[in-house]
Subunit: 168 residues, 6 copies
């Protein structure tokens, strides 16, 4: 293709520099899991509104976010170009208000040939964006972050856990 | 519906506590813009790999992320439950490596009845997730954040800019 | 095309017998609304389980159904071949348990060139299917129906209301 | 999460009352089938129009409905929040005019870890909605219903058939 | 971004070389149409099978292709990265067997701020791919092409017609 | 269904003339590959613009086309009615300028029960449409074609290669 060959050290960037889906044909099907979290700093005003409305209303902001995250996990391969379509076996999404922040935690499991880290991260991120959408009328300074992987199991790299994460 | 009425102070939560799409029928069509950013802390090892590969390879990690963000902006109303479908007029997405972090900035414009903040945030977030996907083979500690609105114009609340953001 | 010309009396079937999207270019943009309902006969066993679990659990079966209906309204033109894409302004979806049946009511509004009856019906139907999915572990005899239009306003045919429907 | 634990007797409602996808990781892959039907009561006027137009035009109303149903079966996990993505092996959809009603019957097969009842029901329901869309210019009183499962095979609950359904 | 500035003479390639959606905010809404065709060279064996099966079976191969094209027109902005979402007003798709080739012609109309050439081309192309899928069991040598724009109206560039195309 | 039985010799057309998804339940999972190409005749003016802009800008026209093709491969079963959903293992898409034409080549691999010819053809076709979209401001006479299968492996029909294609 006329491009100088480049060794990139990144699996999604081919030697010629082009992007590619990692070839997983022929790989073993094993059990894969991943857990990711996303935080939304809503600030004291919005946190207060969420608490004042009682568990029902809070359930609807967080409940909507949870469903949006579960649905988004199933759409990850449509949104992230080099992701493989997967037949996901499980998506769990928890949403809780902790002081002035909302914490979303997504856990995904799949018997498959490739990991589900992107499914977990995408679920948590979209859930966080949904929280933002539900509360934005009360404040645009709301921030999302961090969004990060907490733990994964299965596959060639096996078990990995972020330092400081208790697991489970 | 048997639920106690609640005043929630949040536009997306109805007086009865249920979630709802804000009714924008009858509102004026005006020009709306929004700018949002997302940061990806890739760390020195991955930043080095991106720089060593030269502009072509870096272009492919960042180029893929930019396209994923542009496509995601157009799908925001499918992902965020209470968002309205919009006929977006423009999506711009910039991606740059700054030291050990990648910065994505999305700008969206629309002649419409409702703002485009969620389109800009979703574009930036999905672009960030794509960067993560492209580099994750070299490190799972990568973190996304903050993801936040920088500026918006149009509509009832008019012009808003985050403190410290130069604009443009 | 070699087919005998046929006058069909149906707007979506062209004189040659082929299916087509009704041409709405050049039509006026006016306010359109539509209300539709869907019933799910869950039977006394499941109705009891829903009531015993209290408003929180019931909220999650019905809450999930409501969100699924709202999201489906926005996807109607992808599912129903001859439907036009619309920039929907509002979707409201109510879900209530009435004796041994769940009733879903969807109301859709749009400033547009064509009606929103299919959006309301699709929202109600998908919400009903979601209720079925949530309860099916306790009984496969559950039936969905009727699913029908209750009321519509706007456009050439103006206001129509099903006999016996109080409106609102 | 601060909610009182609840035993709900419903597999899609977690002990805490939250909604969840049933965890099917580790389950055996077996052959699954499901058959569902949907009826559309079009009334004598529309039934007459469908018959007068001959088999070609009727084929297009029913043919469009059949294709919409087949396509919808493949999209079930996008529409029904707690449904798992499946690699469907077969979708068959029949559509016939019986007196003043249209009958749609969908049969779905899959070698998988979970049943395909929702795929069959969704296919039948969307096909019915498509019939409604094709004929609605001639009458808004058209009703859809019942939509219900007729038969299923495979999985833990094995073979189930609705009373009065001949099978096949 | 560290790239040398480049004047590209192409509207979708920004001065810095990056891809971008053309900014159509503020442009006038006018009537836009486009007509495109796609040919499928099926060869004499398959053409004979299509004719022998009579108009019903042929109608199903061509009928399926027509519906797939109409649905694809509505999804163009999801598939073509720099395309704008549009509220399409009309899609017409004709499919005919001409000797050993199938000809698909798509016509799209929209009151909008940007042209509908991509919608027409995508409709014709997906219809052609569908014909291929329906007949491929009888021959893999089938070729698609040409796929090309025949005519367009509206917008800044006004009326354009391919030489040799009669129009209409 | 009242239609005369017809033997059509085409697997996707049922004996009664109706369209159907081929039943692949119970078939063996084997490795499947397919390679397809699509050509875009851009003409000397546009080819010159692409060359003058240097590899960076050319990379963006072709880079955008490549990503669009990879994403489209994953969506084939949504676009082509009788296609089965597949868990694709690999999509590679090459894009090169050859004189006055752009050549796109897509290769798809999957461990599955059915071939991936449609995935490869769809990827190549959508990539070609994307090239057209990126260059159309400089010329509407651009033509796409041929789009055709070059090679396939696996499944009942085993290895097939188009005459004149070197393979690989």
């Amino acid at each position: 293709m006329g491009r100088r060959p480049v060794t990139s050290g990144l699996s999604h960037v081919s030697p010629q520099g082009g992007a590619r889906m990692v070839d997983v044909s022929g790989k073993n099907v094993t059990e894969r899991t991943a857990t990711a979290e996303a935080w939304v700093t809503v600030g004291p005003l919005i946190a207060g509104l969420l608490r004042e409305s009682g568990s029902v209303a809070k359930g609807d902001v967080l409940g909507t976010a949870r469903l949006a995250g579960i649905l988004a996990a199933k759409r990850t391969s449509e949104l992230i170009p080099m992701c493989h379509p997967l037949a996901i076996d499980l998506v769990e999404l928890e949403a809780e208000l902790e002081e002035n922040r909302v914490r979303l935690v997504a856990r995904v499991a799949c018997d498959g040939k490739t990991g589900v880290e992107m499914e977990a991260l995408t679920a948590a991120a979209i859930a966080a964006l949904t929280v933002y959408d539900m509360v934005k009328s009360a404040g645009k300074e709301v921030e999302i972050g961090p969004v990060r992987l907490l733990e994964k199991t299965g596959g060639k790299s096996g078990h990995w856990r972020r330092e400081g994460h208790a697991g489970g």
